[in-house]
Amino acid sequence: MKTKHTRLMFLSAAASLAASLSAAPALGVDVSRLDITKDSPGDWLTYHGTYRSYHHSPLDQINAGNVKQLQVAWTHVPGRSTRGLQSTPLVADGTLYYSGSYSRVFALDGATGQVKWSFFPKLDDDLVKAQTHSPYNRGIALGHGKVYVGTVDGRLIAIDMATGKQAWDTKLVDSKKLTVGFTGAPLVVKDKVIIGSQGGEWPWRGPIFGVDANSGEKKWEFFTVAGTEESKASWGGDSWRTGGGGGWMPGTYDAQTNSVWWGTGNPAPLYDWAGPEWKTKGPRPGDNLYTTSVIALDPDTGKLKFYHQELPHDAWDFDSSVGEFVMIERDGRNLMVHPNKGGFVFVYDRANGKVANVWRLVQNINFVKDIDPKTGELIGRRDMVEGAHKNLCPAIAGGVSWNAGAYNPQTGLYYKVGQEWCMDLEVVKTQPILEPMAQLNIGANFKLTNPEGGKAHGHVSGRDPITGQKKWEVKFDEPPLASLLSTGGNLVFVPDSRGMLNALNATTGDKLWSHNNGNGHNGGIISYRAGGKQYIAVMTGWGSLVGDEFAALFGGPYPAMANDSGAIVVFALP
C-alpha cells in the first residue's frame, strides 16, 4: 500500500517542484502508481485503467448479487458535445477528470458531481470546422500534478490538477497545413507525456511525440513512416512522404523492458489499386513500414526498439491504432494481447515483440484467408485492383473498433466487442492532396453491407485472452461502440449503441441489469471509489465516424439519434 505521503506527492501542485528536487524517487512513484491496480483500487489513473490495460476495477461493493439496485447518483452535462462524448474519465483520490468535445476538461467531485474547475481551451474554429475527425476528444492523462489533453488544432496542453489553470501549451503539429491534430488520449511515462497524431488516411508521416511532462518541451518525435532507413526503404519512390500511419490511440508502457508499446495507423491511400502487384506498383509500393504495426519505443529517447507489422502493406484500412495492450503472464511468459482492426487478436512476447499466437475474434473475415498463428504471416491476401469489388469483410469500420475491451484476472476472461459487417467498394486511383491544406486520401468509394447470408450485427464474448477459446458470447443487433468495464464484483458492463447500459455476469454472460441512458454510448466507462462508495461512470453521446454508419445500415433509432449532445452518467447503490 502506498503511503498517503506518496499519493499527495503525485497529486499536489507541488509535485513538479518535488520531482525536480528528487527526480528519481518521484518518477518511481508515478510509474508504480500508474502500473499496479491494487495499490490504488479506488482510482482510474490512465486511459486503459493502468499500464496493464485491463479496463478492470477490483472494487466489489457493486456485484452480481446487488447490481439490480444500481441507480443514477449524478450526471454532468458538459455542453457542446458535438459527436457525443467519446472520452474515458479518470479518477484520482475521489476527483473525477474528463474531457469532452473541443477538448473541454472538467474536474468534478467524484461523490457529488460538483464542479471543482473547468478548462476550455481556445481552438482555431476555422480549422476545427475543416476537419473530418473533429471536434471530439477521446481522453486525458494524469501525472506530475497535471492533467494533459491534446487538441484537434495540434497542441498538447497541461493543466494544474488542483486549480485548473494552464501550466503549459505546446504546439506539436502544423495543423493548418496538415489538417490533423490530436483526438486520442496522451500517456504519461516517467517524465514524458507521449501522444500520437490522428489518422492513417492523412498524407503525412504519423508522428508520435515525447514531451517533457513538467516543461512542455518536445523531447523527441518518432515518424511512424520513414522514421528509420529500414522504414523508408519499404516505400517505393517518394510515397513515404505522404504515407499516413498516425498513431491516434494511446498505447501502454512495459516497465520491465522500458518500452512504450504503441499501435500505428493504416497507410494512405487506404485502398491500393496495385492489387497483387503491390510490392512494386501502385501508389505506395512495398511493405509500408511502420504502418499498421505494433511498435516499441524507448520512452527516454523515442528510438525504435522492436516492432511487428500486423498487416504488411495494409490495403484494407485495418490499422493497429485500435486495440488496447493487455499484459498477461502465463506459463512463465510475459505476453501482450493486442486486437487489430481486421478482427484478429495478436499475442506477443513482451520481451521482443515476437508473435506468440494469433486468433480470430469475428466470423466475417475475407481480406485474408487466415493469419499464421506461429509467425503472424498473412495467408491468402485479397488485394484489389482498380474497379468494383463485392463483399469485402470486415467493412472499413473493422472487426473491432477503437474503444477497448476488458480483462478480469479473477475469471481469466478477456471481454471484447466483435463487429460482423462487410462492404462493397470501388477502388479508384487517387492522388494525395497537400495544398493548400492536406486532405484525407481514401482511394475508394464504398458502401457497408450485410454479410452474405446474414445481417450485420455485433457481439460481446468472454474468452481466454491467449488462445481465444470462447466461454460465452452475447449477440447485439448492432455492434456496441463503447469500451467495456470489468469489475471485481464479477460484472462486465456493456454500454450499447441504443443507449442501454447493461451489466452481465462476468462468468456466464447472463444479463443481470440494464438502464436506458437515452442516447447511444460511444466512449469510456470506469469504476472508482469516492467517500468509501463505489461508482460506475459512463459516457453517453452519439455521432462518431463509425456510429454515423448506423442510420443507413440499421435504421431503427439511429436516423433520429442526437449527435450533438452527451453527458457523463454516474451510478451507485442506494
Binding site: A130, G275, K281, I433, L448, A552
Partner: protein, 129 residues
C-alpha cells in the same frame, strides 16, 4: 439555375486543368499496369460509372466518398447525393461552409472551380445505384 448549369458545364470543360492545380506540386500519379488478379482475388467488376471526367471521380474518391458512399449514390455517413433536389447554390454553400457535426468545410481546401466540378459530378450521378 440556368446560370449555374452554364457554370457547371464550364467547370467540366476546364476540370482537367483545375485538378492539375489541385494537385499542386504533387508528383504525377504512378501508372499502374493492370495485373491479373491472384487466384484468391475476386476480379474487379465493371461498374456503370457516371459520365464525368475521371479526375473529378478521383477527387471525389479522395476526400468525399469517405462519407457520401457508393460514390455519392447511396446514403452512408453522409446523405445520398444522387438526384438531390437541393439547388446548386445550396450544395456549393454546404461544401464551402460545411455542416456540423459531420460535414467539414472545404472552402479553404478547394477553390470555386473545383467545387463547381464536384457539383457537376453530383448532377451527373445516376439516381439509382
Amino acid at each position: 439555375m440556368i446560370r449555374f448549369a452554364y457554370r457547371s458545364i464550364c467547370a467540366l470543360a476546364a476540370v482537367a486543368t483545375l485538378l492539375a492545380v489541385a494537385a499542386g506540386a504533387q508528383e504525377a500519379p504512378r501508372t499502374v499496369e493492370e495485373a491479373p488478379p491472384a487466384a484468391q482475388t475476386p476480379p474487379a467488376v465493371q461498374q456503370a460509372a457516371p459520365s464525368v471526367d475521371p479526375k473529378v471521380r478521383s477527387l471525389f474518391a479522395t476526400s468525399c466518398g469517405w462519407c457520401h458512399q457508393g460514390g455519392g449514390q447511396v446514403a452512408g455517413r453522409g446523405p445520398k447525393l444522387a438526384g438531390s433536389d437541393k439547388s446548386d447554390e445550396f450544395i456549393i454553400r454546404q461544401i464551402k461552409q460545411g455542416k456540423p457535426p459531420g460535414m467539414p468545410s472545404f472552402g479553404r481546401a478547394f477553390n470555386d472551380d473545383q467545387i463547381l466540378a464536384i457539383v457537376a459530378y453530383i448532377r451527373a450521378l445516376p439516381t439509382t445505384p
